[in-house]
Amino acid sequence: MTSALRGWRASALALLRLDAALVERVRREERLPELALSAALAIAIGAGAYGAAFGLWRAPLQASFSALKLPCVLLGVATFTAASSAALAPLLGARLRPLQSIVAVLASLAVTSAILGALAPVAIVLVASLPPPGSPDDAAVGQSVVLAHTLVIAVAGTAGVLQLLRLLAQLVPSHAIAKRVVLAWIATQLLIGAQLSWVLRPFVGQPRAAITLLSPQAFEGGFFEEILHLAGARFGGAAPWVLGGLGVTLTVWVAMTLTSDARDVAVRVWPRGLEVMARGAQASLLDWSEVVAVTVVGACVLVRLTPDESLVDRTLEVRCANATAAASLARAIEQARAARHEGPYRLGPAEAAVDAGLGVSLREAG
């Protein structure tokens, strides 16, 4: 029992530190269920502690209810988005297995919960010093308490997302793919998190209302339905247009973020292939057999590659200093490709393109 507890604590701390051994463990899919359990326990303890602080201003009973409900929200988010997280990650370019995706999600929520748990004592002290419910201005105090807690949770959530991004950046081929996956995951988590918070309300409770585990209207309507009603009350007949415009803008932004994959790189032409250097990533050498076609568009060189295992078209967009440099780079690439077909001892023509490797940016389209 003691060794199990020690093992859990070590795993939870490793999740927070995100050390190299942990990343390697996730990459190799070693003892992932144990890691998932550690993260779940960290969520239960950390979010539970902050949940208690959340409800403490109203009454100790409300604190105990909130200590149960806040971990339920976070674990519910992980549960209801597990399938979509596992399915979306490979579709967006990260070749993660389902359990890897689930552990990554749980790890980010564990980081959020650990921060919340660490801030719980501070929150308890501050809340205990506020005017209690029943005092003349308790409604205003209650609103301030809710606002402050929301801000703290937002900060902790942001830290969790950043940790998730750091973890994924080490597990997937590029930072752009990691950002894409995180965006998709966060979108689904926000949808579920908002609804679950709505169903499990109240967390602080009205100062003069009876203390209950769940609101009597818990299963009537929903968070987004309420938003629709509020928009209808605020904008009247224009509400569908306002919400529609907002939805379209958000959808276009998400779609553009999900599809664009631009990163600054440099390229060098070698007899055996094209070296691609990206900031923060190890240089890789593309074999000439992977290059399908090379075209010059102004100061850009477009290098079309064979599709990868996920059948995604890959196009390298290499931006050069000017059109002459682009033409020179394209010529060097073509000559090196041609030399490859002529045999290993006949590299003569490619040597003419000495200064061609000037490209500084690459875009993988697809």
Binding site: T79, F80, T81, A83, S84, A87, L88, P90, L91, R95, R97, T188, L191, Q195, L196, W198, V199, A218, F219, E220, G221, G222, F224, E225, P240, A266, V267, R268, V269, W270, P271, R272, G273, M277, Q282, A283, L285, T306, P307, D308, E309, S310, L311, V312, D313, R319, C320, A321, A325, L347, A350, E351, V354, D355, A356, G357, L358, G359, V360, S361
Partner: protein
């Protein structure tokens, strides 16, 4: 190195017979087996290809899990198997299970006979839409040099439908949570419509990529075909209504276009 200065990356061309600097540094992924990208000129895989590639052997077996993994993570590998007529039962099973389970989540909003009817309707909807649109897809693919046989085009289509079904299933818990507490039929309907549109877009993307891999380049006109596919699907969904609302008999009542029906729903 400063990314704003293009010359910062300029490197001299290697001199004659340099020791190659990249051979020991090129990252080698430990897991994936050797992969040969599909192309129009690729020949039918031989027995030795199966022997060399253990993942391929898994796909050839009847494991639904292996086919699902390949569908999500390495569809190129699955495409090779599908071209030979393999993995069809697994893909069909995945589509049926995915659509039926999503249908179950949808019908839980109204309950009653819909719990049985909606899953069947959804599976029927996907099957008829795919069958109706398959000939046009095959002609388009043939015009661009892909789809050497109807089986190959049907294989690409079945991969797309299976992926859309799996993704709809993966998104169903989210839609279920969001719709369970609402009393608005329009809200619940719009939610599941979004789920199916997202799933269909990923599925159509896979069809496009699979056919492009066969053709060795993009298949022209596939964007218009995708729009047609969605229109057919939406119209059939309108014909088979109600899919979210309460049970209203087994057979379609009055004929209407999906645009009119959508406007009516939003208006209500």
């Amino acid at each position: 190195m400063d990314g704003n200065d293009p010359h910062a990356y300029a490197q001299p061309w290697p001199q004659a017979s340099p020791p190659h600097p990249f051979v020991p540094e090129v990252p080698r992924a430990p897991d994936p087996p050797p992969f040969v990208p599909p192309s129009a000129a690729s020949t039918a895989p031989t027995a030795s290809a199966t022997e060399l590639d253990p993942h391929r052997a898994e796909l050839d077996s009847s494991s639904v899990g292996a086919v699902l993994d390949a569908l999500l993570r390495s569809p190129a590998r699955l495409l090779d198997v599908v071209r030979e007529g393999g993995a069809a039962p697994q893909l069909i099973a995945m589509s049926l299970v995915g659509l039926a389970t999503t249908g179950l989540a949808m019908s839980s909003w109204s309950g009653g006979p819909q719990l049985l009817v909606v899953p069947i309707k959804l599976a029927l909807l996907a099957l008829v839409t795919a069958l109706v649109c398959l000939p046009s897809l095959h002609v388009l693919a043939a015009l661009s040099g892909a789809g050497r046989s109807l089986r190959e085009t049907a294989g690409a289509m079945s991969m797309g439908v299976a992926l859309a079904s799996v993704l709809a299933l993966a998104l169903a818990p989210i839609a279920w949570v969001l719709s369970a507490a609402t009393s608005s039929l329009a809200f619940a309907g719009a939610l599941y419509l979004v789920v199916f549109l997202v799933a269909a877009l990923f599925g159509l993307g896979l069809v496009r990529r699979a056919l492009a891999a066969s053709a060795g380049g993009a298949v022209r006109g596939l964007g218009a075909w995708s729009v047609m596919f969605l229109v057919v699907g939406l119209q059939l969904a309108t014909t088979l209504r109600p899919l979210v609302g309460p049970f209203d008999g087994l057979w379609p009542h009055d004929r209407t276009s999906f645009v009119t029906h959508l406007a009516d729903c939003l208006g209500s």
